[in-house]
């Protein structure tokens, strides 16, 4: 089966001689969850614009469902398949109210106004943000704007979502809500590619990770393999996920845990620590309530 989107030796220069992207080879299949990790200036946003067919490539080519993207028609076919979330959601919110904005993309595709509004309401319901429907777009917080922009993309039902630093500038709640929206979108079968410099987010969400450094993909593979390679991340000026760092330190202290899956979230790290404690006969942890009176919930709670 041909991939949804493929790049072959993709390269792009903003000004002649200065490569923003070089020799990028990616294959994205339906249902993939790919995180492109890179430091500032690595070329992440440019890569997403190139994948969305918005740049005239300097070299290489884009292939969408086995067909090269060259002509105007193939470019608009690609854009119909793809939803692109820009880093600043304000750049892609145009209508006065949330409901109207979510319907905006549908209107551009020729869907009649009342049908577009019905579908807009359904998407807002599905993403659990229907309480925002009547709000003015300019009155929303950054996190809400990002969710509304995502809802606008989801409304047109793209096969591939490209998200440029979706968690940038979001607080804990905003991030959790965003991840919930992403999961909900993925449940519909869409492939998602996101760029970030946040390795914690990549560990938590992605199934595969690509490291982008100075416009080149320096490594690509499974989440655990790439994100536990400190040397690789360090050379790309990235910080490993905090849960991985903690778990790897624990692995050194307790070698049998080396075979266990690395924890991606704080709650998984909590379980990791408890499992170590339980498997060491000399130290059996007591139930939390007996150790600290009125203790709140698990040792490490929350998703992140």
């Amino acid at each position: 089966m041909s991939p949804l989107l493929e790049t072959q030796g993709l390269g792009y220069q903003y000004i002649p001689g200065a490569w923003a992207l070089r020799d990028i080879n990616l294959r994205i299949h339906a249902g993939d969850r790919l995180a492109v990790l890179g430091a500032n200036g690595a070329g992440k946003s440019t890569l997403l614009l190139a994948l969305a067919g918005m740049l005239h490539l300097t070299e290489g080519q884009l292939i969408c469902e086995g067909r090269p993207v060259r002509s105007r028609q193939s470019r608009s076919y690609l854009r119909d398949k793809i939803g692109l979330l820009l880093q600043n959601p304000e750049d892609q919110l145009f209508a006065p109210t949330v409901e109207q904005d979510v319907a905006f993309g549908l209107l551009q595709r020729g869907v009649p106004n009342h049908t577009a509004l019905d579908r807009s309401r359904a998407v807002l319901d599905r993403l659990r943000i229907s309480h925002l429907a009547g709000r003015q777009v300019h009155q929303l917080s950054l996190g809400e704007k990002k969710r509304v922009a995502l809802a606008g993309l989801a409304a047109v039902g793209p096969s591939l979502l490209l998200l440029d630093e979706p968690s940038a500038g979001l607080d804990h709640d905003g991030r959790c809500a965003l991840l919930e929206v992403l999961r909900s979108l993925q449940a519909g079968g869409a492939a998602v590619v996101l760029t970030t410099h946040d390795a914690d987010l990549a560990a938590q969400w992605a199934s595969t990770v690509a490291i982008l450094d100075a416009g080149r993909v320096t490594a690509q593979g499974g989440n655990q393999r790439i994100l536990s390679d400190h040397g690789l991340l360090d050379s790309a000026r990235l910080v490993p996920p905090s849960t991985y760092v903690a778990a790897m330190a624990l692995r050194e202290l307790y070698p049998p845990s080396a075979e266990w899956k690395l924890p991606a979230t704080l709650s998984e790290l909590d379980q990791f620590v408890r499992r170590i404690a339980q498997s060491r006969p000399s130290h059996t942890p007591q139930p939390r309530d007996e150790r600290v009176p009125n203790a709140p919930g698990p040792l490490l709670s929350g998703e992140l």
Partner: protein
């Protein structure tokens, strides 16, 4: 929930006040018309007062500036009505147009334009100009704010130099901002002429008639005033 006016209702009101400001003699009617437009803006269409008066600053300044060459032409005889007529008319006319611009989102204006069968390229051109204007306002406001924070007690000379730097980089930044918006439009599926969403409020004939009552009353008063004299 407060009902938002349909762009058609605002358009009719705005056109009515605009026509009156162009037809009625500026003295004594200008002040009265301006008061009526402001009342409509603040009470009927709920434009925040600060926004309304700030937006009137630019046409006010232009009208004031126009007084100087006109006064020059009239040998600075300030009792000559020719000096005041055009600036006062243009100011009240601008306030009537601002009533429409400030109370109705751009997308709804574009929708109204399409409903009136204005050709799609013209609508797109208006949207393009709006995008550039919005980017210019946003970027220049951000840069001015940043400049005032970075050099709060700069001397006049330094301020002039900083303003020169600001204006030198302003155009590039506006273009960059506008470019990002173009990507945003493409990302939302705009590949030709933009299709604006329909307003959420239906056109109400009674609301439109109510809005037109006031300009009609003023027109009647002006007629009676003219006949009386």
């Amino acid at each position: 929930m407060i009902r938002r006016s349909h762009p058609g209702e605002v358009f009719l009101t705005s056109i009515a006040w605009l026509s009156l400001s162009l037809v009625l003699p500026p003295l004594p009617w200008t002040l009265f018309l301006f008061a009526c437009t402001s009342a409509a803006a603040l009470v009927q269409f709920r434009i925040p007062p600060r926004r309304w008066f700030a937006a009137l600053g630019a046409p006010g300044a232009f009208s004031l500036l126009a007084v100087v060459p006109l006064a020059w032409n009239a040998s600075f005889d300030l009792s000559d009505m020719r000096i005041w007529s055009a600036p006062l008319r243009s100011f009240t006319a601008s306030s009537a147009v601002l009533l429409l611009g400030l109370s109705t989102p751009m997308m709804e204006l574009l929708y109204a334009g399409r409903s009136l069968r204005i050709p799609a390229p013209w609508i797109d051109l208006a949207f393009l100009l709006y995008r550039f204007a919005a980017a210019a306002v946003e970027v220049s406001a951000a840069m001015t704010r940043a400049m005032s924070f970075r050099a709060p007690r700069a001397s006049w000379r330094h301020q002039v130099r900083a303003s020169a730097w600001l204006s030198a980089s302003l155009f590039q930044r506006i273009l960059a901002r506008a470019h990002r918006t173009e990507y945003g439009l493409a990302a939302r599926g705009v590949s030709g002429w933009v299709v604006p969403p329909a307003p959420m409020t239906a056109f109400s004939l009674s609301m439109a008639a109510w809005s037109l009552c006031w300009p009609a009353a003023v027109a009647l008063a002006a007629l009676l005033h003219a006949r009386w004299r």
